[in-house]
Symmetry: C2
Subunit: 354 residues, 2 copies
Amino acid sequence: MNKIEKLRSYLSENNIQGLLLNSSKNKFYSADLYSSSGYIFITCKNQYVIVDFRYFEEMKEKDIKFEVLLMDKQKTYFDIINEICKRENIINIGFEGNEVSFDDYNNIDEKINCNLTSIDLSKLRCEKSEEELKYIKKACEIADKAFYHIIKFIKIGMSEKKVENEIVRYIKEQGGQKESFDIIVASGVRGSLPHGKASNKLIKANEFVTFDFGVKFNNYCSDITRTICMGIGNEELNEIYNIVKCANEEAIKLLKPGMTTGEVDKIARDIIEKEGYGDYFGHNLGHGVGIMVHEYPILAPGGKDLLLEGMVVTIEPGIYIPGLGGVRIEDDVLITKEGCKRLTNSTKDLINIL
Amino acid sequence: MNKIEKLRSYLSENNIQGLLLNSSKNKFYSADLYSSSGYIFITCKNQYVIVDFRYFEEMKEKDIKFEVLLMDKQKTYFDIINEICKRENIINIGFEGNEVSFDDYNNIDEKINCNLTSIDLSKLRCEKSEEELKYIKKACEIADKAFYHIIKFIKIGMSEKKVENEIVRYIKEQGGQKESFDIIVASGVRGSLPHGKASNKLIKANEFVTFDFGVKFNNYCSDITRTICMGIGNEELNEIYNIVKCANEEAIKLLKPGMTTGEVDKIARDIIEKEGYGDYFGHNLGHGVGIMVHEYPILAPGGKDLLLEGMVVTIEPGIYIPGLGGVRIEDDVLITKEGCKRLTNSTKDLINIL
């Protein structure tokens, strides 16, 4: 199914004759419109982009299969939508209930002469097209390059912030649009914070340092984590490193389409639990990656969703010991016909910077 | 009024006995909690922060006048809120209707045993405290430094992207948290796009270049625009520059507390209209700046809101001629007892880089 067919499949499934999109992510996915303003409207017969003068010319020139309509003072968004509904006999409209605020919903409900139903579109973007994969792969490639760059850049005595700033600078120099989220650089005992954003803490000899960052390329994200050691480390963290690496590798080795999200989570979690660290892996194994850095599906304990060919997900086990530090190793993988393929290819051997 | 008194004033005004905050901006403003998860709950007698284990210890250590409660599997957010409501006889709760999604509203409405009312909190943060001003001033100071840095850095033949990347790098080097929005670098004819994000276009001799960027410092924003010329320019753009500069300076000179937002917009707009460029100034004169780079009030034609001492607003007139280019000059100003005070202090004399 192409994107428009996918969108249209929501009509019959939900007994609606129109689907109204307002989120930037779904407007970009559907019609290459990345903006918080404007609407996409999909009906049984047609598909429309409705924008103001700032986007009108640009959208008309794009090679998209949408009719582009201009909103202005004479005709509001809702006037235009009401006209379409009248012409195409539309009674029920679906909207993005988890994207539209309560106040906006009331405003739309008042102005549109149709019944509104909240539609869950979280699965819309989960199976990636060849074109989408091209951008995700590029975002992963730049992330890998940034990792190899940073292990040459980092020195004992540098602040975590300085390392973060260099990652951001390098990503942009390599043609990445920007970082896909606020970068995590967590050294020493801060490594036990799964979301330890880079701080002014200085990196000390023998500390483990976890980098978790991603790249945006044409609005598609990558997401990678590696932990390195600024010396020879210590026995417990070295052991933990090997357990986490094994959990990451086993999950990637065994992941196949048709498995549930919970089954894959369990592969990694069982390894960590068997080694006695189950209580120290307090988050999910992974999540989908695409236009959003976190999207459907979630690979969590007990998860029942099926993993499908074409999905891109992260595999990111970790162990976090308060007062000692932590290790996380994260790859992005594409689910293929027979298994999965890594899109981030940075080494997972422990790097000791001596 | 301190922040808690301000928050509590919404209770009596709206006939509610509790106010539930979920937006990062208002949670940060109220209780120094910058996170999309967790709730703040203000009642007639008390004020609560409700967070999960990730934030609990950190929030308890903060010097804030809130009771910190832990949400976990045994007690959800809604269990905790229901307990408080029962104990304090709360029947009506206000919530942020323009921040809570329609789906989340329905979930909250189902789980909380009270009536919910959407409350408009847009004015909550408009008058800045001394402490807030300290952060905004620092964000403005770094923005000024970045402007002076970039006019030494920029060269004919550089791409707009390269200039953007240097601004981001420099902001972080100077201790800024990050850029406060995607940076605009619009050169030559691209200058006629009021929101022309930096592209791969190379900057050519004699072109005008508009930079619009801001800095975040402790989650407070600045927002500045300057237009420079990469040579001697041309007669029309030089003339336009002087008109825009005059519009910016007159609005700043005459702005006083007690004026309406529309009156200040009109000062600048009249100057541009009198010179025959009224149709080429297609946006508002300015907006409030604080935790959000765009916040209440909006300085727009016909605006009736009163400008008050302690507000920080932008003054940003512009003229945009399709096919030729554009000029915009933007300062952040603090409204004082008698007038206003510039917080961005970069020169507004036209800089010609020869």
